[in-house]
């Protein structure tokens, strides 16, 4: 029996099993209730709810776990309202729910618990019936201990069946997250103080940073320059908390790291699994973001920022800039940056300024000549564009192939050149991202293959080799020594297996 094998393994695969009860509840209600009344349980031992064979008792833990997941998948497919349950599952995974469950464990005497347990007479297992931990416990206890548990189970059973009586199983599941959500809204403080800053950091550094810089100017007009860096970081943190507990603003700012925040960090590390990923990374980045902030601060006068803040920045800017000499100056590279740089960092900026000036001058000169404009990428590197003759030839070929006359007007040619410039810019961006992600400074063939795969140019039916053969002349083909067919094949196999298992 699948559930019999659970107890020893249950702890390692807790998450999977916590997601399971949704599916297993209905199964139990169908198959197990008779089993509890009569000793008919053994009859079911060989087969699971879906009727397939169960892992033999000698199976390894992994094998049993695999069997269990397969079972649960089947059950999920066979059960109605699957989509609704899926959505519920997602809701459950949110870090908020981990906090909730923790709250239930830590403080048993709160009102919510009493209300939830009030529906059931069960004393010790009186926690919320639908909470993940409790749900698991019920399933475990029902299965593990055969006859003795019947006494305990009877009180638990009505709890599950109460919602069933009302409408259906699903609705009991539906109700619970609603209640938790409501509960959260009451407890706005914890929720927002934890979630908002992290998310903002990881997702939208720009807006948040600018907010942080504004804070900095508000609070630290009189502070030392030395502390400005640290403060800049924390001020990015504080706005949300400051909004929440307005009295503590000054406290938190002075301490630079408020005890509350640290505590919450620890708690979260102890608790969530998935959520840790989302949260810990930004926490790690905070230190790096100190350097990210510096250029931002120096940029900010550029943007429409509150007028009061500007003079303060001017004071700060030199120090900050010396600490982090960035590419950002080069990135700014265009005309507006030039106006700012002299007042920011005289020495470093001068060189760049001269460079840029020369580049601009060149560009202007070339433009005056009316020939190919020299384009500069965002990294300040000049690059040519493809020779129009090549592009035109290709375009004509393709046009003929797609049924038009092979004639392309000069205007259209200009548009095509523009498009291809954009394409290469995008290509460079993407390839850079891939290479950096792989920890390389060099763009590899594998990066391009990954890119083409993501562009859906390469799929199991279209190998890169076939594409190359179709489009490239033989000399270039020889340059490409390609191992690639291995990769898509493996993928296909994996997918095929997965499909077989599911259906």
């Amino acid at each position: 029996m699948a559930r019999e094998s659970r107890p020893p393994d249950a702890t390692p695969t807790r998450r999977a099993s916590s997601a399971e009860p949704l599916a297993s509840i209905t199964r139990r209600s169908i198959f197990q209730t008779p089993g509890n009344q009569t000793p008919g349980v053994p009859r079911l031992q060989g087969l699971s709810a879906s009727g397939r064979k169960i892992a033999p008792p000698t199976a390894t833990p992994h094998a049993r776990a695999a069997f269990r997941t397969i079972d649960s998948r089947r059950a999920a497919i066979l059960t109605p309202h699957r989509a609704r349950r899926k959505s519920l599952r997602e809701v459950r995974d949110s870090p908020r729910d981990f906090l909730l469950s923790l709250g239930r464990v830590l403080a048993r005497n709160t009102e919510v618990i009493t209300t939830s347990s009030s529906s059931s007479p069960g004393g010790e297992a009186g926690r919320g019936p639908g909470s993940d931990g409790a749900g698991n416990d019920t399933t475990l206890s029902t299965v593990n201990v055969g006859d003795d548990d019947d006494d305990e189970e009877l009180p638990k059973r009505p709890r599950l069946s109460l919602p069933i009586d009302e409408e259906d199983d699903d609705d009991s599941d539906d109700l619970q997250p609603h209640r938790s959500v409501v509960f959260d809204e009451n407890d706005n403080f914890t929720m927002q103080s934890i979630e908002m800053p992290r998310r903002a950091y990881s997702e939208q550094p720009g807006g948040r940073l600018s907010m942080g810089s504004v804070r900095m100017s508000d609070y630290f007009n009189t502070n030392d320059m030395l502390h400005s860096e640290d403060v800049g970081v924390d001020s990015g943190f504080f706005p949300p908390t400051a909004v929440l507990d307005e009295g503590n603003i000054t406290m938190g700012v002075q301490d630079l790291s408020s005890p509350e925040r640290l505590d919450s960090d620890l708690v979260r590390r102890g608790l969530g699994r998935e959520s840790d990923f989302g949260i810990e990374i930004p926490v790690g980045e905070i230190n790096e973001s100190t350097f990210m902030i510096a250029p931002q601060v120096e940029d900010s006068p550029d943007r429409p920022s509150p007028g009061d803040a500007e003079p303060v920045y001017d004071d700060y800017a030199p120090l900050v800039d010396q600490r982090s000499d960035d590419f950002d100056d080069a990135e700014l590279g265009e005309v507006p940056a030039l106006e700012e740089e002299p007042m920011i960092d005289p020495t470093a900026a001068l060189d760049e300024q001269t460079e840029l000036e020369s580049a601009l001058a060149k560009r202007a000169a070339v433009r005056e000549l009316g020939k190919k404009p020299i384009k500069v990428s965002k990294y300040g590197i000049e690059y040519p564009s493809l020779p129009p003759a090549v592009v035109k030839r290709l375009a004509q070929n393709f046009a003929k192939a797609s049924g038009a006359k092979g004639k392309i007007t000069a205007d259209a040619m200009k548009a095509i050149m523009q498009a291809s410039d954009w394409f290469f810019e995008q290509l460079g961006d993407d390839l850079q991202a891939y290479a950096k992600h792989a920890g390389r400074k060099t763009i590899d063939e594998s990066d391009v293959l990954t890119l083409m795969k993501r562009q859906r140019q390469i799929n199991p039916n279209t190998t890169p080799f076939a594409l190359a053969q179709r489009h490239l002349p033989r000399e270039l083909l020889q340059e490409l020594r390609m191992p690639p067919p291995v990769v898509p094949k493996k993928r296909r196999k994996g997918k095929g297996e997965g499909d077989d298992e599911i259906t």
Partner: protein
């Protein structure tokens, strides 16, 4: 076309290198250009369709501009 080289390899390398601020390995530019050809093919095809729908004959700048965004989005990695 035969006897004539398909594209200037060094140029493609330079372009990508400038945009990515990364080095480009020895033969990666071939695949890049292959990708570019696919992009161009897609662009021209769409532009042709667009032009036909708009009642123009042949590919015009308007039709190309109209489909550029879509094609670029399609080739976003």
């Amino acid at each position: 076309m035969p006897g004539q080289k398909l594209y200037p390899r060094a140029t493609v390398k330079k372009i990508v290198k400038a945009h990515s601020n990364c080095n480009v390995s020895k033969n990666a530019d071939v695949m890049m250009f292959l990708d570019y050809m696919l992009f161009l093919q897609n662009l021209i095809k769409e532009a042709t369709i667009e032009a036909k729908q708009g009642g123009e004959r042949g590919i015009t700048a308007r039709s190309v501009r109209k489909v550029t965004a879509d094609s670029l989005a399609k080739f976003r990695g």
